[in-house]
Point group: C2
Chain length 421, copies 2
């Protein structure tokens, strides 16, 4: 079977060998312990490099990558109006080009799986699979209170689900419910039932802004968005709730009890001034599974998970007035193993049997010349340009920072951008 043997690579502080066969990790052993004679297995000497699981961006809108800068230094609801205006010009090609550009950025910054929430899903599928990334692609339910639109989306959702059944092993179909303020109640319930009957994950924006909380309370008899969603039976361990930023004690308890996967999108929340007091400790202790996302780069303004990891930890320490908050091992899990758990995919760990999504990090530059641990240097000191190579599903998607076809992707995106503006 075709494979890759990574020799002499630092893994969790030890020199190791990692054998990849097909799309999975078939062996992990101390350096020098694995020898392979199969001519189909390429041996790569990784001296001076370290392995980490590929990052998982648990909430993004890849198709928005050409919309960064559409609104700078403005507030969430003003920003959303502007985005919805630009999106009127969207077409298949724009989503394809934007998602391809987003995949390029994700590869260069070490993301191997992205949990996407956007329009024209077949185009996102095409871009992600061409680029070799693992994706979870949502059919987005967003009827904006129009019953006719609901019916149209129900039909399209079913069609897309059927289409997705022919997808390869790197893409997973899921259902997105945009948000409680943009989807009719009956439609949210329909979408949840549709997902649960088919074992699909549900991806939803929850409690992102104070306005969302206030509006919800006014419309739903004083219930918060979390209470309201729970009253409809929507919350569960199959739900990925993006943002969960404005939460009451009761909300935290519900999200914990239901085992919801909460995604912190720190840069988007900061930049749109949505808020910064993400209740990390409380949610973790209540039993929620916490992951990280960049949000779409129209709001954040990039797809860089390392930046998200550092900033999340920095803010958490600062606002809690506690320098021990969100320690390094937990940040790393949020970007990797916790996401694997949330998506029900065997990713986020480098161990025998796991899918082979691996970052090869160059540790011979100034960022790593310190007494700190590899994790501290990677997250607090380095940037994504220390990521030398990226393996996704057992295949190199970047080697020595070269992504095949990069110049063509940029050239095509430049042409598409002209059309958007």
């Amino acid at each position: 079977m075709a494979g890759i043997l990574l020799k002499n690579i630092e893994l969790n502080g030890s020199q190791s060998d990692i054998l990849i066969e097909g799309n999975s990790i078939s062996d992990v052993a101390p350096a020098g312990k694995i020898t392979v004679k199969d001519a189909d297995v390429e041996t790569v000497d990784c001296t001076g490099k370290a392995a980490v699981p590929g990052f998982v961006n648990m909430h993004t809108h890849a198709g928005m990558s050409m919309m960064r800068g559409v609104g700078e230094d403005i507030a969430f609801h003003e920003w959303l109006d502007r985005i919805w205006k630009v999106e009127e010009k969207l077409d298949e090609d724009l989503v394809y080009q934007s998602t391809r550009l987003a995949c390029l950025e994700m590869i260069k910054t070490g993301t191997t799986t992205f949990n996407d929430h956007y329009w024209y899903m077949p185009m996102a599928y095409k871009a992600a699979t061409e680029m070799g990334l693992r994706s979870v692609l949502a059919y987005v339910i967003c009827d904006r209170n129009d019953p006719e639109e609901s019916e149209r989306q129900k039909i399209q959702c079913q069609q897309m689900y059927e289409v997705s059944r022919a997808w390869g092993d790197t893409a997973t179909f899921c259902i997105a419910i945009h948000a409680i303020y943009s989807v009719r109640e009956e439609m949210m319930v329909w979408a949840t039932r549709f997902a649960r009957e088919r074992g699909l994950k549900i991806h939803i924006h929850v409690s992102e802004t104070r306005k969302e909380i206030e509006d919800c309370k006014a419309q739903h008899g004083g219930m918060s968005p979390v209470e309201y969603l729970d009253s409809l039976g929507i919350l569960g361990p199959d739900v990925v709730a993006a943002h969960t930023l404005w939460l009451s004690e009761k909300d935290v308890e519900i999200l914990g009890k239901r085992g919801v996967n909460c995604v912190h999108n720190v840069n988007s929340n900061l930049k749109l001034a949505s808020g910064y007091r993400f209740l990390y400790n409380e949610l973790r202790d209540a039993g929620a599974n916490i992951c990280l996302g960049t949000d779409g780069c129209a709001s954040s303004n990039n797809l860089d998970m390392l930046e998200t990891m550092k900033t999340s930890a920095m803010i958490q320490k600062a606002w809690r007035d506690d320098p021990t908050a969100m320690p390094l091992p937990e940040i790393m899990s949020m970007a990797t193993a916790n996401a694997g758990k949330a998506l029900g995919l065997n990713i986020g760990r480098i161990e025998k049997g796991a899918l082979a999504d691996i970052l090869i990090v160059d540790t011979e530059n100034y960022s790593f010349l310190s007494p700190a641990s590899f994790e501290a240097n990677l997250i607090y000191s380095a940037h994504s340009d220390s990521i030398d190579s990226v393996i996704c599903n057992g295949r190199f998607v970047m080697r020595g920072r070269v992504v095949p076809g990069e110049q063509q992707i940029l050239a095509d995106a430049r042409k598409a951008l002209v059309k958007l503006l």
Copy 2:
């Protein structure tokens, strides 16, 4: 005269030519308007690139670059105790190697001038000048309440000042007063007088932690550190005050009235959980001159000004609940022109007559493929690896991301690190 002609480079949104002769910018004109026949002038085609002034890191401890990770996820005063323990092992070679390593990192991340605050200044001078960076190097007064140490430092300060008079044009001597909690009052007054008699800048840590405020009030009849320093006549436009994080309304008024240069060190403040509510709007409106620093990378954990710029803006928007706070042009000025003003150096602007400290930024990568402005893309989207080349004092210190001697610097630093540990 030896020179460099940067052709077809984007500057403030227009295609331009920039002529550098000697260490200064001798002409800036629309693209195609400058032609030079002098064989000593090298013409560089900068199509697809943009020019920004070199960043100025207004508060750092370059000699600490090998101490990053000495204390992770701990609080300021515990961290400081640990640092002071490690520093007992410091010697000239360690400071030389650490500063050289810091200069390498600063060049790669676009800093052309650093305002340093550390020990063994002649070694910092040697490292900075060898690496071709502009530096403001402080003799650090820090007697830790020991009158004998004060006398020793007075003599050494005078000696160092004499030594500095033979320095070349890229290094400036200044006086650092460590902080009110580590320097005797009489010594602070002596140092201030010493500086003012010679026209030297004064660099001091001010109001970094709540503990500093509380201790000061207890010891000095209820005065805050700012009030206390002002009562001693220390504050003025020649003072660079690092941190200024915990300020009363009266403190803001004093800092403004005295025209103090306040340096925000966001990552250090966040990581040590010192605080995050930097009073940017209030200080600016009161008349203070606000700059940015990374602090030493033992606390921050890197020397990356672009990261500092983005994080400063993000936090400011979030805690003020105002997405328009700290807009892009102001962030850029804080990292460039404001610093030139603070240091009394003709840097931080790309214009005729200014010193030639210029970053050449590659705008043909994914970070810049958007409808946003160049500044938005550079600060919010890109990382320092988009900085292709760096000119300091009219000379290339990095070209195409290659810094001469990089591998030797890393090898030497690795040896020195073993000694430190």
